[in-house]
Symmetry: C2
Subunit: 194 residues, 2 copies
Amino acid sequence: MGRPSRAHEVRRLILDGAADIFSRRGYRATSMNEIAAAVGLSKPTLYHYFHNKEEILVRLYEEVMSDAVDDAVEISESVEDPREVLHRLLVYRVRTTCERQSIHKVFFEEEEELPRDLVETVIEQRRRYEDVYRTQVRRFLDDHPDPPDIDVTVFVNSCLGAANWVYKWYRPDGPRTPEQLGREIAFYALHPLG
Amino acid sequence: MGRPSRAHEVRRLILDGAADIFSRRGYRATSMNEIAAAVGLSKPTLYHYFHNKEEILVRLYEEVMSDAVDDAVEISESVEDPREVLHRLLVYRVRTTCERQSIHKVFFEEEEELPRDLVETVIEQRRRYEDVYRTQVRRFLDDHPDPPDIDVTVFVNSCLGAANWVYKWYRPDGPRTPEQLGREIAFYALHPLG
DNA sequence: CCTACCGATCGGTAGG
DNA sequence: CCTACCGATCGGTAGG
């Protein structure tokens, strides 16, 4: 059942190759021929694995979304202290974004290329993802005897900006590992909580 | 000399219209006909004011870059206290990004569509802009008797991520003005400085 | 899995 | 001669 079939492997290869080229040249500027060449297939063969170009983009988005939401829910359920949950969420956010930088660049920059119905799914999943953060921030503030004066939504957006922004400046050959970077950014971002 | 000629006004109109459509549909997916229709001109007329589609994008980038660098330098030279400089820089960063959200979305997401030589200019100007921040953070740390343990580059990237990210979530009909949002985000981002 | 090819659309330019 | 503009159409390329 879970055994990766040959077809599944090829699809994986195409998705990774497409994410790489999309991230460097943009979805619209990338031709199906380029993707085919990059993964060593012919253009018609691509159409054996995906109905069209858009479906490739849709699969990339679905992957990023389900991974993010699943992991966020899991982390928030495995730790008690809300501040610790937020810290782990941000470290994980930075680490995943660095480790899969190409697909995240596509995810953050190609939303207008998606079909209407998936745009709504993306918005919905993003809301669910951010709700995990907001819930933890509220828990933290409620537990706190002298809570800092912060607006939950703005604060969460601020934290996520600091974390997600690594997709633009992280360099794998830099001095820090994604994990180190995650801890550092989470440390800065959560400072207003005291 | 500084008097806006008719031609200058039309160019301004085209740039604003193009920024708006580029931000909603993407540069590559936008046709010259769409831009023309949006500003009430014919497509050939567009070519009277700009050599080609790419030049429109280039002008948008040049505008964002020169505004940002000029303002950053001005702010950093008009205030003494480095922490206050950083605060003002971030408030201004958020405010400008919110007030001109479309052009900033284009600026942050269409870099791969630029001609090679301008990409290098963008990288260079970005370095100059971030250098203003890094210089102030270093000044702050040097002046400080008991400086917090922060890495200058990662901290600045974290601050800029928190600020720039508003281009994705700011809504003009929301409860906060760009100025208020800027102060709030700057307040959060600079917390690690104590 | 390839060669061949279509229907559609694009950026850019001609004449006036 | 220049600036400003339009209706029509070009060569080239994209997804499929």
